[in-house]
Amino acid sequence: MLTRRRRRRRWTSTTTTAPTVQYLDLTGLSILERLVLEEYVYQTQTQCNWVLIGTHGLQSTLEESSPWSLASSFLHSSRDAAIVLGIGGKIPELLYTKPVQDDQIPVIRRFSGGGTVLMNGDCIWTTLMGRDFPTRPFYPRPLMEYTATHFFHPLFTRLQSYQQLKQQQSNDHHSSTTITTDNLFSLREHDYVWDKDSKIAGNAQSIGKTGWLHHTSFLWQIPSGMSRYLRLPAKRPEYRASRPHEDFVRALSQIFPHLTVDDFRRAFRETSQTVYSVESSCVLSELQEEYLLPVVVPEGGLRQWYQTKSRTKVMTQF
């Protein structure tokens, strides 16, 4: 339950007004904490729609005493990165296990479907959780189309406008880089792509009777080691053919060379405010003050929930 700022409102699926959402910027959580907190919100905070964003590494900025901390589950690695699999991912089929073990890369199985991603602080992670959004029924393809059309295409239009403005401000007329002014974002098969051919994000969903969750990882920079750790998946989209990871995915910093991660976060927040009615907005420091989502404390904290109810697991045997 939210605190006094929350207004109780009953939504029906026929509503034509913008859905009300709660907005969280969780930058500062570790990769594992982000996954588990997101799963917790999805499973338990079913009275609200949610919009989440963040960038995450292996370490957390939370105090170990925080009810949101998974400090005892901190993952250690020679690199500030982790591999995150979908719920059905089979490690021998998806990973080169020896380099993963040699480099001590943590492997985490998440609660949602979808593919494999090498996560580090250069990934921007966004999540939409819909309880009563104007899209029915709750099936994968309609949800992909809804998120692409109603949220992410407008987001990329906004990013293009930021890029143009910054380019004008920099008086960068002599740049040899041709920066397109067109929004080339689209949905192809099950991927968000740029210019029809380059994948720019990984998507995954979890669907249940209380609603749906759609999370997306955008690569601001391509992390090194993708082809070292990640096999070419057997099931892949037709348009990919047999391209290796580095030739198939495209970093947002290449598309928006004048922008920063903070520009993306600002555009995401502004798009949320345009597409939805943002009822409350919170960053990690406010979460630590137990301003929102206080119910996790009676449950023994996020650590207890992770150990007893979460489907998210750190894989130690492979």
Partner: protein, 157 residues
């Protein structure tokens, strides 16, 4: 979502035909077989106190290629409407809910190696679990074949 509507109408018709075959009430040594359906597209085929549960043909078509099925273990207990597992299709993990309360007495192990069977045999060989029902009266709140057919057609529009 014209393509989705066409797909769901086609699947609704195919699902109904399959259901009509399953829904016949037969007598075999005193046992009765009947099928019931949930709004979330799970089915339970009743044989005495045992209910064979899975997802319908309508559901598998809407989900797409099934790549993974997460099932409980024998001995696990579930209340009606409680999630007992999930199916993964391309990008989505979709929860599956118990149509009736009871204890799992058998799990379809084939699906761990052949999850794609759900796409071709959803209401046949690709059942998920068999449950020893705790309260057969719960069946009264589920849909029969006719009601389920109507439900699918309404969802398609």
């Amino acid at each position: 979502m014209a393509s989705v509507s066409f797909l769901t109408r086609t699947v609704a018709r195919r699902s109904f035909d399959s259901v009509a075959r399953m829904s016949r009430v037969t007598h075999l040594g005193g046992a009765r077989f009947s099928s019931y359906f949930t709004p979330a597209h799970e089915y339970v085929k009743v044989d005495g106190k045992i209910g064979t549960c899975g997802i319908t043909d309508f559901a598998q078509a809407a989900l797409g290629d099934i790549v993974f099925v997460d099932l409980p273990e024998v001995g696990d207990e579930f209340a009606k409407g409680e999630s007992f597992g999930s199916v993964e299709s391309v990008k989505a993990a979709s929860d599956v809910y118990a149509p009736v309360s009871g204890t799992v007495v058998e799990v379809n192990e084939i699906l761990s190696d052949e999850p794609g069977m759900v796409n071709s045999e959803a209401e046949g060989k690709a059942w998920f679990v068999k449950i020893e029902m705790k309260d057969e009266a719960e069946l009264k709140s589920l849909m029969n074949a006719d009601a389920y057919k109507t439900h699918c057609e309404e969802e398609a529009h």
